[in-house]
């Protein structure tokens, strides 16, 4: 079966198989811009992404949110492309574009029919060094960001709890500040602040260009040289290490907000990958997360939601790749008649079960099968492949190591899972956040709730 498909494609697409072997391709321009190209010829489309190694963690107190505000300002024009013109040109090319800011990076992308790639590269290169930060445009845009904060955080009780959790869990490391910024910092931010940020960090040697889709990598390299190659690199300011001290006791935070359901988050300090080959704990923690919460019959859902009915919903969140320190979060809401204390006890019992009895071979096997399938499924999306490369690179992990990470994950043993459960789930490194739901004042008369989108 598989042979015949390979054979058919080998006949029709002589380039595909050889490409698959060397893919992705990489070069570095003389100004320091790395260019990574992954060829994928399934559909006549392409994604261009530029990732800047600069995120909210590089901000300083009083200027929280400036990385994200600048991201908004990047659409406000250069000497050759007027305000709003960037979006217009992408739209005219039949494209979609947007940008996103994280703690670790700021990234910009366009998805376009492949014929339009050169134009997109010209536009993206232009705003890498030639942005106008017009005070009038800034004054309107920062209001938009404040609305974004109201929508995403201020009126969202869970998001407020998460924001407070991180402000308490981290005291030194800038992960304590929200990506979108504190409202008072946004209120006091000026166009000059945004411009200073841009001038300091937006240079080719602080970025990498990622192109994934129906392209010839040599052509992309030539286009990169043409449009990005002319931009000058510059020495970057030295970044301070900002090491978070070891936590020495449980911290607790409560947020009161209008809601029906309480929410509990238990955040444990956890390691992240620094050396793909030598590290082992981050893989074991990822495996532990898959065994607790990887599918509907994984331990958390099976035991806490379905059997004991102590939780309405429950989950685990652990990202083992980041520039800064790691956290592993357990979270959930108690079911009717149960309390946050009941849920906390139940979550602790599940952790204790792994610490004492370990995990089973069938559980590990199941998690591995899911990993293997997921590796194939991700090939269905060029954008997803670009995101995977970009996120790894931003966390300091070379994209060449992505497959190695999957191998290491496959090799995690039951004993290693048990060992990390004992090592990292300790009360001294724990921060507990609780959403204490409050009644709505002047409750609307509306007696029911939407089932529509």
């Amino acid at each position: 079966m598989r042979m015949r498909h390979l054979f058919t494609f080998a006949l029709l697409l002589p380039g595909l198989l050889t490409a698959a072997l060397a893919n992705p391709f990489e070069t570095t321009l003389s100004n320091g811009l790395r260019v990574i190209v992954k060829e994928d010829h399934r559909a006549p489309t392409v994604a261009q992404m530029v990732w800047y190694r600069i995120g909210s963690m590089d901000e300083v107190d009083g200027a929280s949110g400036v990385a994200h505000v600048l991201e908004h300002m990047m659409f406000k024009g250069t000497p050759s492309v007027g305000p709003g013109e960037f979006n217009k040109r992408v739209a005219a090319a039949g494209g979609r574009d947007n940008a996103f800011t994280s703690r670790d990076y700021t990234a910009y992308f366009q998805q376009v029919p492949k014929e339009k790639l050169a134009e997109m590269m010209q536009l993206e290169a232009d705003r890498m060094r030639h942005l106008n930060v017009d005070p009038k445009e800034f004054a309107q845009e920062v209001k938009v960001v404040m609305e974004e904060r109201r929508m995403r955080t201020d009126d969202n009780p869970q998001a407020r709890l998460f924001e407070q959790m991180n402000a308490v869990a981290f005291q030194v490391h800038p992960y304590r500040r929200p990506i979108i910024g504190w409202m008072s910092d946004l209120e006091n931010m000026s166009a000059a602040d945004a411009k200073a940020w841009y001038d300091m960090w937006y240079v080719p040697n602080n970025a990498f260009l990622l192109v994934v889709g129906d392209v010839d990598h040599k052509e992309v390299f030539a286009l990169a040289e043409k449009y990005y190659g002319v931009l000058e690199g510059r020495t970057l300011p030295k970044r301070k290490p900002l090491t978070e001290p070891v936590q020495d006791g449980t911290r607790r935070v409560t947020v009161k907000a209008p809601a029906e359901l309480p929410v509990l988050i238990m955040g444990y300090k956890a390691p992240v990958l620094r050396d793909v080959d030598k590290d082992s704990d981050p893989y074991a923690l990822q495996m532990l997360a898959a065994i607790l919460d990887g599918h509907d019959a994984a331990r958390f859902n099976k035991k806490l939601v379905r059997e004991d009915k102590v939780a309405l919903s429950v989950g685990i969140d652990y990202d083992n790749a980041a520039r800064g320190p790691g956290m592993l979060y357990l979270y959930g809401s108690p079911s009717a008649g149960k309390t946050v204390a009941d849920l906390e006890a139940a979550l602790r019992a599940e952790i204790k079960r792994i610490q004492q009895d370990g995990v089973s071979e069938p559980e590990l096997k199941r998690a591995r099968a899911q990993l293997i399938a997921a590796k194939v499924y991700k090939l269905d999306s060029t954008f997803g492949q670009a995101m995977e490369i970009g996120q790894a690179e931003s966390a300091g992990i070379p994209y060449q190591k992505i497959d190695r990470m999957l191998e290491k994950l496959q090799q995690v043993s039951a004993a290693e899972v048990q060992a990390v459960a004992k090592k990292y789930f300790t009360d001294d490194s724990l921060t507990i956040g609780v959403l204490d739901p409050q009644p709505l004042d002047g409750k609307p008369r509306a007696a029911s709730v939407a089932s529509h989108h």
Binding site: L12, P113, D154, D296, K302, A447, V449
Partner: protein, 429 residues
Amino acid sequence: MKKLLTAIVVLFAANSALAGVKIEHWVSPSGARVYFVESRALPILDVQVDFAAGSMFDPPEKSGTASLTRGALELGAGKFDETAIAEQMADIGATLSGSTDNDRASLTLRTLSVAEKRDVALAVLRNVLHAPRFDAAIFEREKARTILALKEAMTRPNSIASKAFWAAMYPDHPYGRQATPETVAVLKRDDLAAFHARYYTAANASITLVGDIGRGEAEKIAEAIAAGLPKGAAATLPAPPRIAPGKTVKLEHPATQAHIHIGLPAIERGNPDFFALTVGNYTLGGGGFVSRLMKEVRDKRGYAYSVSSYFNPLRQTGPFEISLQTKRSQAKDAIAVTRDVLDGFLQQGPSEEELAAAIANLTGSFPLRLDSNKKILANVAVIGFYGLPLDYLDHYQENVRAVTVDAVKQAFSRHIRPADLMTVTVAAD
């Protein structure tokens, strides 16, 4: 030889921006409509089974039935309990997901296409569709969870606004009825079993397959799914929505931002004005960062992070809707600007330049709508479920290109009647 030819056709299709997707369609011997796209590039098979079993078919006073029925399918079927079903899927890395909207209840399977995994995954899919148990204890648990989730949603300004908006637009049509803690509380296990027996039938199903199988295999897979369902009959539609005169609904809430919805019932799927409205709406509020609403409400005034308009064509007349959120103290101003933009557009339509930009984007971005199996599956499932022409995707670009400024103006004046517009606000001062 035949294989090679097919592959060449597929390859050319993929390289031409004009071509859609080659959809094969047949009716299975047991009476289900089947839609199939062969795609050999990746060893993946996606299968979606859609039933006309959405919330519009909830029995009166029992809103929530459709959603709970769909959700309970994989919580015990045949001789397998919910744990066994989830483990069977996880063991082979397959995923089974579901959704329920106004019209449709859907189950979607993604599996590796190698026979030893695919066969297991398809057996699970058939089992949960053919023999769900609706165990009483599990039903009671899910009912309690649903009631709690509905109570939580009732505290959220966006949920409250959306619910009130649909209720205002559809005062006596099922689209306006929503699940509430009260309607879910009265449900019995047998309500779900009865709903399943009535609506999860071959005649009421469309099956979409995309991926690494041949036509012969697709026929067998589809028929095996259909053969285990009761033959049944297509769902009977209620009387079409009656248009209610426009009004304003203002609800209190302590949120910092007001949630605003403006709109009315507009068009059903397959309406001949669809392309004129889609092209026109791109300029009004559908075109993301380049729409008039975005420019006036967000860029010029900083009133909102997100503002958009869209048509949501359904089996029966679905809504046109503008939505935005803004600081509660400036809700009145934001609504005024939004109405100005809408009224101006209704009077003048798009400029020739705007029309050309809309057409350029909607035709140019067409390949992006079909550049993964997942997107092809979603598009073909809609074509199948709503009975759109099989060459819908092939002609999409030319239909867009044929739209004129006049056609947009006329279509908008037919469907967007200012006197019928509903305005719903939550947390506006």
